[in-house]
């Protein structure tokens, strides 16, 4: 991978608002935007940034998890011409890997460019989940696990899975220390989300998010045993889009390399969905993906300036910090509690709030992560902009589907 046959870039990213509880304009009792509106907004938001818009696009790809149940809609490639008529009669694909669908959309675009079947790919992700109450949404999201295990699972299936991980972590290490790290993770997410107007927690004004989370003892009678609501990402509607292009492609759409990010390398790993994790205190597929991507690129963790990682639950954030090698097993919580992952810390993570703060429109999240890294590395992150140093010029995304099942890690650098 150190020598890709072609250079690949991403640019012209766009995120809709992540809509759901927490946003002032969200009203579950009123009719709201559907898949169509989100796709149109994000798709056109990307196309408006490139020369000749959709005419410049060779093919499109869409990441989505569960439109078939949330929205009773399949055959999603058919929606691209609705975004722009110039996408009609061109190739389009949709990809699914649960909450890891977004990164599969990116990978599909990257591979098309590498295969030289396209120079400009419109890569998108979308999910509209507020169509059902959370208790029924939990059934739908549970499809990211093995259905044969669903009966044994919790009413809130995925919170249940990650609650078990948190429980195992508490038992193996130190519950109090772990909960402090998890509360700090939440506080960072809120602090960062308040800087991005598209974030679901942008309107959050709570004076003490850290204290709020720390004081909220998990209650298994109403929710799960080891997580509180602040430990969980919310139910979100949203779409994101980005352009994946070759050097020729960038020229075609009139975008300078420095306004794009170059893809340095990636790793995709999957873990057997029919098996429970051997060690619940480790995200093994994520850890393997990280090891692979560093090996393939020859880079090290000390060169990474910012990471967008998959914190569907705060404990997943802590475990990924450990998988990245920033802390030893059992010490990721301290690393976070000590402020190292804050926006002014050693390694700023999830700088627009991540899944907990920005939102988690499941099938769109992987694309949203890439858009955030593109914004940060090219100086387009607005109020959420962090400083990227020369020593740590690289950005990284880690997107996960299910319980550490479908994982993609990608490393980026500003184009030059």
């Amino acid at each position: 991978m150190k020598n890709l046959r072609k250079k690949i870039y991403m640019t012209a990213g766009y995120n809709t608002i992540s809509m759901g509880t927490g946003r002032k304009e969200f009203n579950p009792k009123k009719e709201r935007a559907g898949l169509e509106e989100y796709l149109k907004e994000a798709g056109q938001g990307v196309l408006n940034q490139i020369d000749n818009g959709a005419k410049s696009v060779d093919e499109s790809v869409l990441g989505n998890f569960m439109a078939s149940r949330f929205n009773r809609q399949a055959n999603l490639p058919g929606f691209f011409p609705m975004i722009d008529k110039d996408l009609e009669f061109k190739p389009a694909t949709s990809v699914e890997g649960a909450c890891g669908s977004g990164a599969l959309s990116l990978m599909s675009g990257i591979k098309s460019v590498l295969a030289e079947t396209a120079d400009v790919v419109l890569s998108m992700g979308v999910e509209v989940q507020n169509t059902v109450k959370a208790i029924y949404g939990a059934d739908i999201l549970a499809y990211a696990g093995w259905f044969k295990e669903r009966k044994k699972g919790h009413a809130y299936f995925f919170p249940g899975q990650f609650s078990d991980r948190a429980g195992a972590y508490f038992e193996k290490y130190d519950r109090e220390k772990a909960r402090k790290g998890m509360a700090q993770w939440y506080a960072n997410a809120i602090e960062n989300a308040r800087l991005d107007p598209t974030a679901q927690e942008f309107h959050n004004t709570h004076p003490d998010p850290y204290g709020l989370s720390l004081k909220s003892e998990p209650n298994g009678k109403v929710f799960v045993d080891h997580l509180n609501y602040m430990d969980c990402s919310k139910v979100s509607d949203g779409a994101s889009g980005i352009i994946i292009a070759s050097e020729e492609g960038l020229k075609r759409i009139g975008i300078d390399k420095k306004d794009s990010v170059e893809i340095i390398g990636w790793a995709q790993t999957i873990r057997n969905i029919t098996e429970q994790p051997t060690d619940r205190t480790e995200l093994t597929a994520i850890k393997t993906a990280i090891e692979k991507v560093f090996k393939e690129t020859g880079l090290s963790i000390n060169q990474i300036g910012t990471v967008e990682l998959h914190d569907c639950f705060s404990i997943a954030g802590i475990l990924t910090v450990e998988a990245l090698g920033f802390a030893k097993p059992g010490e990721g919580c301290d690393f976070v509690a000590n402020g190292n992952t804050k926006r002014d810390g050693i390694i700023p993570m999830n700088t627009t709030g991540g899944l907990i703060g920005w939102g988690h429109p499941t099938g769109a999240t992987g694309v949203h992560q890439a858009v955030t890294i593109w914004q940060q590395l090219t100086g387009k992150a607005g109020n959420a902009q962090i400083k990227i140093s020369k020593e740590r010029p690289y950005g990284m995304t880690i997107n996960m589907g299910g319980d550490d099942v479908t994982v993609t890690a990608i490393i980026y650098k500003q184009g030059a």
């Binding site: 029924y136 939990a138 669903r150 009966k151 919790h154 009413a155 809130y156 298994g220 929710f223």
Partner: protein
């Protein structure tokens, strides 16, 4: 007979009514909970929903279904455990649907009262008519070989009167839910000197199962809740009447309603509350109570006048408020009835003038919605009513007198031995009437 056995065959009389449907819902959910217990598998649980109205019973089914779904959605964690052995029920949605089926499957709607002859426990929620209650209960008791227990939902009829006239010998108690039973936490429990203590224990266990708070009240007509509300309402009517030397009746009603809602920080003004309960219901309850209160005259000519004009308030079957003292648009009061012209007079015509005459609201006022959830409620009210005492406006003066009178009514309920203590009075008004502060307090000294 165990708690579970006692709840295997139950009847609700007046099941399609507002109170009856709520009692039916809560009881069906409780019975279903028992039926799902492993030791009760295979046992049949029957809940007869008895009502005179076929139409009412038809509407009842959809009410129950919608309410059970709401309950199920909040208890899915527990439901998954209950249905653990049902391999065919995998998703929350499937389990919730099954639970709705299981709850509704217990309920047998019927217009035939004879089914109650087989019950162990009978809830009575027919209209507030002592003779009717006595007639129905004695008929059932003559034909039911089980010596069943009777829980009457009366809010005013003395229990010993029902007990004697229907010859129930210690097998009846007052179990007074507040409206709507599915939401309100409060139950007033009224026993007589004969009441079977085992039945009282059962009543406490049952209310615990339902998640209700019991406040015991002595068997004196009106009990605590109506004992307070009826007197408070009559006082409000008289205060309005007193204002009619300077104001028209609609203006007076508007002003007293505003004072009781805003100045006294209550969820609704007193005239709106009387409309909510129903002017006819109020007249009826007063009629039941009055003979037992020799020192008072619990009667209002104004209520009689409104009834004679067929202005009754109360609620439509949809739950929407019917017009009474006030006229409502989308649940909001917009006009007051003038018995002279027999028309509603819009607030718009006089509200500005009346508001100006009432004067400026004292500092520190919080609307009820905010106040009721405030962490330092006591401090907020203490400083607000201190400011009110320093204020010389007409609104403040009437409000202070009103608050002091509510306090007096509360104390009287204790001295009359209706309530055991002032704490019980306050609990009833806080939980049954959603007042933000109890009527017995020091704010109006």
């Amino acid at each position: 007979m165990t708690y579970d056995e006692k709840l295997q065959n139950v009847s609700v009389l007046g099941a399609a009514g507002k109170m009856g449907s709520g009692i039916l819902l809560l009881t069906a959910v409780e019975m279903c909970k028992l039926s799902l217990k492993p030791e009760n598998k295979g046992k049949t649980f029957v809940l007869n929903a008895i009502d005179l109205s076929d139409e009412g019973l038809a509407g009842l089914a959809s009410y129950i279904k919608a309410q059970v779904r709401k309950i199920a959605e909040k208890q899915t964690v527990w439901l998954r455990e209950m249905y653990e052995d049902r391999a065919d029920l995998i998703e929350n949605g499937e389990i919730i649907d099954q639970y709705i089926f299981d709850v509704t499957n217990i309920i047998r709607p019927t217009t035939a009262m004879e089914v109650a002859y087989r019950s162990q426990l009978i809830f009575e929620a027919v209209s507030e008519n002592p003779d009717l209650k006595v007639k129905i209960l004695s008929q059932i008791d003559k034909n039911n070989p089980n010596s069943p227990w009777y829980f009457t939902n009366t809010s005013s009829v003395p229990i010993h009167l029902i007990e004697e006239k229907a010859n129930l010998k210690g097998r009846v108690l007052g179990f007074h839910f507040y409206n709507p039973p599915a939401v309100q936490k409060l139950v007033e429990l009224i026993t007589t000197s004969n009441t079977n203590p085992i039945m009282v224990d059962f009543a406490y266990a049952y209310s615990k199962g339902l998640g209700k708070i019991i406040v015991p009240s002595n068997d004196i007509a009106g009990f605590i809740g109506n004992g307070h509300f009826m007197r408070d309402g009559l006082y409000g009517i008289n205060e309005a009447k007193a204002l009619t030397n300077k104001y028209s009746w609609p203006e007076a009603v508007y002003m007293i309603n505003k004072i009781t809602q805003d100045y006294l920080v209550r969820p609704m003004g007193i005239f709106q509350l009387m409309d909510y309960v129903g002017i006819d219901v109020m007249q009826y309850i007063l009629k039941v109570m009055n003979p037992y209160m020799p020192e008072e005259n619990l009667h209002s000519e104004i209520l009689d006048e409104f009834i004679s004009l067929n202005i009754k308030g109360g609620q439509m079957s949809s739950g929407a408020q019917k017009d009474g003292f006030l006229k409502y648009e989308k649940g909001k009061a917009v006009a007051a009835f003038d018995p002279k012209s027999k028309n509603y007079v819009s607030f718009e015509i006089f509200s500005a003038k009346c508001d100006a005459d009432l004067g400026e609201m004292p500092n520190g006022h919080l609307p009820w919605k905010t106040a009721v959830r405030h962490k330092n409620k006591e401090n907020v009210f203490s400083s607000f009513f201190t400011n009110m005492k320093a204020s010389v406006t007409l609104g403040s003066k009437i409000a202070l007198k009103y608050g002091a009178n509510a306090n007096k009514i509360g104390l009287k309920l204790v001295s009359d031995k209706v309530a055991a203590n002032t704490n019980d009075v306050n609990t009833v008004m806080l939980t049954g009437f959603f007042h933000a502060f109890g009527p017995v307090n020091n704010y109006f000294d």
